[in-house]
C-alpha cells in the first residue's frame, strides 16, 4: 500500500515537472549594474545611447537631497551604454527643480529632445509645510546636454490630484498618463489626450477594461501599439504587476498579464521595451529596494512577418480589346480546361485547386454566325501561395483547446527543420502541430516561423507568416 502511494506521488511529481517543462519561461531577467544598494531606481526610458531613469540616490558623496520633511527625492539620471551589456556611471540630468522636488518618471517625445517628466505642482511656501500633500504633475522641458531647461507645466496639472508618469505615442499624437483625478474607476487610472492643432485635448479615461477598481500606473505606449501598464488588480502574481492591452476597433482589449519572471510576487512595474520586444527594462522591488532589471525575451518574434494569404484559385479572364467597347456583336465563349465554361467578354472562374489549365476562347460572330474555335488559348498555371501555412480557426473561446497545424505549408525546395509558434500571448511552442488554448479574450497575432536545415554555406532560411485569432469570452 505504502509502495503504491509512493508510486502515485512519484507519478504526480514527474507529471508536474513535465508540465512545467512544457511551458518554459520565455523571459530572462537580469538586475542592472547601475542600481545601488540602499537606494531606489525606477522608471527606465530607452534612448539611443543608453537609459534614462529615476533614482533617489545621492547626487554625489558630498551632495544629497531630501524633501522638507526628510524624504529622499527622486531625480533623473542618464546611464550611457558602454557596450551591449555595460553602462557608465549614471549622471544626473538636472533642472531648476532638482534640489527641492521629486523629478520623474518621465518620457521623451519623438523628437528626442522634449522631455515630459513628473514633478510636484506646488512650489511655493506651502510646499514646505510638513503636513501639506503636494500633488504631482507633468512638466515639459528641453534636454540640453545634461540640463533640463525651458520648463513649463502640462495644462491638466491640478493641485488637487496627481497627474504623472507620462508616455507619448510613437507618432507624438497621444500622451498617456496616470491620475487620480475625480471620475475615475478607483485608485489611480490611466488617461490619454490627443494633440490637436498643437494643443492637448481633454483627458479621456481609458475605460473599465484598462482601469480596474485598483490602481493603474506607469502607462507605456510601445511602438507596436501595445499599451503596457502596471496594476494591482486581483489575478496577478501579487502586488504590482505588468499588463498590456491593445486597441481593437477603438476599444481596449482585455489586458494580458506578463508572465514570470517579469512579474513576481513583489512590485513589478514601469515596463519599457525595444521595438522588437526582444529586450527591455522594468522596475521591481523583488530584492526589497526598487531596482531596474533588464529582460530578454527568448520568444522569437519577427518584426517583419507576412500576413497569411489564403490560397486563391479564382481568376478573371477577358478579351482585352472587347472589354474596351460598350457592345460588340460577338459572343465570347470560354473553356477553362477543367470542364467548366462561361460566356462573355469578361468572365470569372475559380479552379478547384492547383494545376496547369489551358484556357480556350471561342468567338461567335453574331453578324455572320461564324464561330472561330480556339481563337486564342492561354495556359494558366494555378499554384498555391508559397508560404508557411497556419491552419487554425479564426475565432475560439477562452480555455478552448484547439490544435494549430503547419501541415499545409508550401515552401518548395525547403527541408524544414523547425516550426516555431509565437502565440501572441507571450507563449510559444515548437512543432508541426501544436495544442493551444487562451486564457483571456482578445485578438492574438500568431506567428509561425519556419526554419530550413542549413545549406552548404551554413545559411539557414527562415520564413514567417502571421494570422490573427479572436478569442472571445466563454459564454
Amino acid at each position: 500500500m505504502r509502495k503504491r502511494i509512493l508510486y502515485i506521488i512519484t507519478i504526480v511529481l514527474v507529471s508536474a515537472l513535465q508540465t512545467r517543462a512544457q511551458q518554459p519561461s520565455v523571459y530572462e531577467v537580469k538586475r542592472m549594474s547601475f542600481n545601488i544598494k540602499g537606494f531606489n531606481s525606477i522608471s527606465p526610458v530607452i534612448i539611443k545611447d543608453g537609459i534614462i531613469f529615476c533614482s533617489d540616490r545621492r547626487f554625489s558623496a558630498f551632495e544629497d537631497r531630501t524633501s522638507f520633511d526628510g524624504r529622499r527625492l527622486y531625480n533623473i539620471y542618464l546611464a550611457v551604454k558602454k557596450d551591449t551589456s555595460a553602462f557608465s556611471k549614471p549622471i544626473a540630468l538636472k533642472s531648476e527643480r532638482s534640489n527641492k522636488f521629486n523629478n520623474g518618471p518621465l518620457c521623451l517625445a519623438p523628437d528626442g529632445k522634449t522631455v515630459y517628466f513628473t514633478s510636484e505642482v506646488e512650489t511655493g511656501e506651502l510646499a514646505g509645510y510638513k503636513k501639506f500633500r503636494n500633488h504631482s504633475g507633468i512638466f515639459i522641458a528641453e534636454l540640453a546636454g545634461t540640463d533640463l531647461v525651458s520648463l513649463h507645466p502640462f495644462k491638466y496639472n491640478d493641485p488637487q490630484f496627481d497627474v504623472g508618469q507620462p508616455s507619448i505615442s510613437k507618432d507624438g499624437k497621444y500622451i498617456f498618463f496616470a491620475s487620480d483625478m475625480p471620475g475615475g474607476n478607483g485608485g489611480s487610472d490611466l488617461y490619454s489626450c490627443e494633440l490637436i492643432n498643437g494643443d492637448w485635448s481633454e483627458p479621456v479615461n481609458l475605460g473599465p477594461k484598462v482601469n480596474s477598481s485598483g490602481a493603474e500606473n506607469y502607462p507605456y505606449m510601445h511602438s507596436s501599439g501595445r499599451l503596457y501598464f502596471t496594476s494591482d488588480r486581483p489575478g496577478g502574481f501579487g502586488k504590482l504587476d505588468v499588463y498590456y492591452t491593445s486597441l481593437n476597433n477603438g476599444s481596449w482589449e482585455d489586458p494580458i498579464l506578463l508572465p514570470e519572471p517579469i512579474n513576481s510576487s513583489s512590485d513589478d512595474f514601469a515596463f519599457v521595451a525595444e521595438p522588437d520586444l526582444q529586450n527591455g527594462y522594468f522596475a521591481s522591488n523583488r530584492r526589497n529596494e526598487d531596482d531596474i532589471y533588464k529582460f530578454t525575451s527568448t520568444i522569437i518574434r519577427k518584426v517583419s512577418c507576412d500576413t497569411l494569404e489564403e490560397n486563391n484559385y479564382c481568376y478573371r479572364f477577358f478579351e482585352e480589346n472587347a472589354v474596351k467597347q460598350d457592345t460588340v456583336p460577338f459572343r465570347y465563349e470560354w473553356k477553362f480546361g477543367d470542364g467548366n465554361h462561361a460566356t462573355g467578354p469578361l468572365v470569372e472562374h475559380c479552379f478547384n485547386g492547383p494545376g496547369t489549365y489551358t484556357i480556350q476562347l471561342d468567338v461567335v460572330n453574331l453578324v455572320t454566325k461564324e464561330v472561330t474555335y480556339n481563337e486564342k488559348s492561354e495556359t494558366v498555371i494555378v499554384t498555391e501561395v508559397e508560404q508557411p501555412y497556419i491552419s487554425a480557426p479564426d475565432r475560439i473561446s477562452t480555455n478552448q483547446n484547439v490544435t494549430l497545424s503547419a501541415d499545409s505549408t508550401n515552401l518548395p525546395g525547403w527541408k524544414i527543420s523547425r516550426y516555431y509558434w509565437n502565440f501572441g500571448d507571450e507563449t510559444i511552442a515548437v512543432g508541426k502541430e501544436v495544442p493551444k488554448s487562451y486564457l483571456k479574450a482578445g485578438t492574438y497575432n500568431i506567428q509561425l516561423i519556419v526554419s530550413a536545415e542549413p545549406d552548404q554555406g551554413n545559411n539557414v532560411r527562415e520564413a514567417c507568416i502571421s494570422k490573427n485569432i479572436i478569442v472571445f469570452p466563454k459564454p
Binding site: 481568376y315 480589346n321 460588340v328 460577338f330 476562347l361 453578324v367 486564342k376
Partner: protein, 334 residues
Amino acid sequence: MELKKSIYKILFLVFLLGFPMFVRLSGQPVPGKDENIPFLVTFGKDGKTSWGDADFYQVFFFSILKDYTKPIYIRVFDPDCGGENDEIQGEFNTKTKFSVYGGKGVDPEKNEESRGLLKGLNYKSGNLLASKIFGNEAKYDNKYYTFGPFNPSEGDFNTKWNSYMFKIVCEGISGDDGNLYRYFLSSEPDNNIPIEGANAFTYAYHFRMWNDFKSVSHIYPYIDTGVVYIRQSNFDWDNDGTILVVSRYKQGISVPISDEDNWVRSNIPIEPQEVGSSLDFQFHKRQDDLVKNNNVVIELENQRGDAVKFFSSPIGGVPIYQPKVGYEKVKPKK
C-alpha cells in the same frame, strides 16, 4: 572572309531592292480586289437620292510614284449607262461624263475643294487632261474605255507620298439611271497591268452592294498621324445588315446604319496603335431578307473635321484582328 563580304553585299542589295517592294503597292483596280465591291455607282442628276447616290458624282484619285516615268492609262469598265450591269429607272436615258484632271489643283491634300465632298465647291480643279460623255452605248457595255496615255509628270506632285496625283470625276449629267462602273490604272492601254507603287483613293465612296447574302464588301480608310477618333457618315444603307469596323485592335465594332435616303453618323475611337494603318469597314448584308441593288455612300472625317482617305489597296495591308486574352487573380466571391 570574301565569302562573308559577298553575303553581306547580297543581303544589302536584297534589302535595298526589297524594302521598297514591301512599302509599295501594286493594285489599282477600283474597287480594289480586297474590297470585294462589285461596282462604283453614279446616278444621273435627275435621279432620286433615295436610290443611293447623295450627289450624283464621284471623285477618285490615283497616285503614281515619282520614279515611275512610263505612260499611264486610266481604264473605265462599262462606262456607258445601259445594258447588263447598270440600274435602269424606267428606260435608260442617262448620260455620264468621265473627266481626268492633272496638274496644280488636283492634290486633295493641298486643295480641299478637290476632294469633292461638298457640292458647289470646285471639285473639278486642275488641268482637264481628257473627258468623254457616255450614253446608252452597247459598244461600251461590259467593256473598257481607256483614257490616256498620260505622262505621270502631268499629275500634281505630293511630297508626302512622293507621288503624282491624278483625279477622275464621274458625273451623271442627265437622266436618272444608275451607272455602275469600275476603274483600272494600267501601264498599258488594252490590258489591266498594275503600276508598281501606285494606288487609288477617294474621300466619299459611292458603291453597289452585292446581291448575295454571303458577300462581304470592305473599304479601308487610312488612319493618319494625330487621329483620335473618326466620324463616319453612311447614306442610304437601307438597313441592309451591319457595318463592322475591324482592325488589329478591334474585333469588330458595329456602327449605326442608315435607312433609305438618310445619313447616319457616329464616332469611332482610334487606339494609338491603329495610327499609321488601315481600318477595315466590313459591310455584312442582312441574312434574313435579301436587299437587292443596294447602293451606298460612306464618308469619314477625323476629329478635326478633315476627310479621311479610302485606299483601294489598304495601306499596311488588310488589317487582321489580333485577339488578346488577359487574366488576373480575383478574390473569390463569398
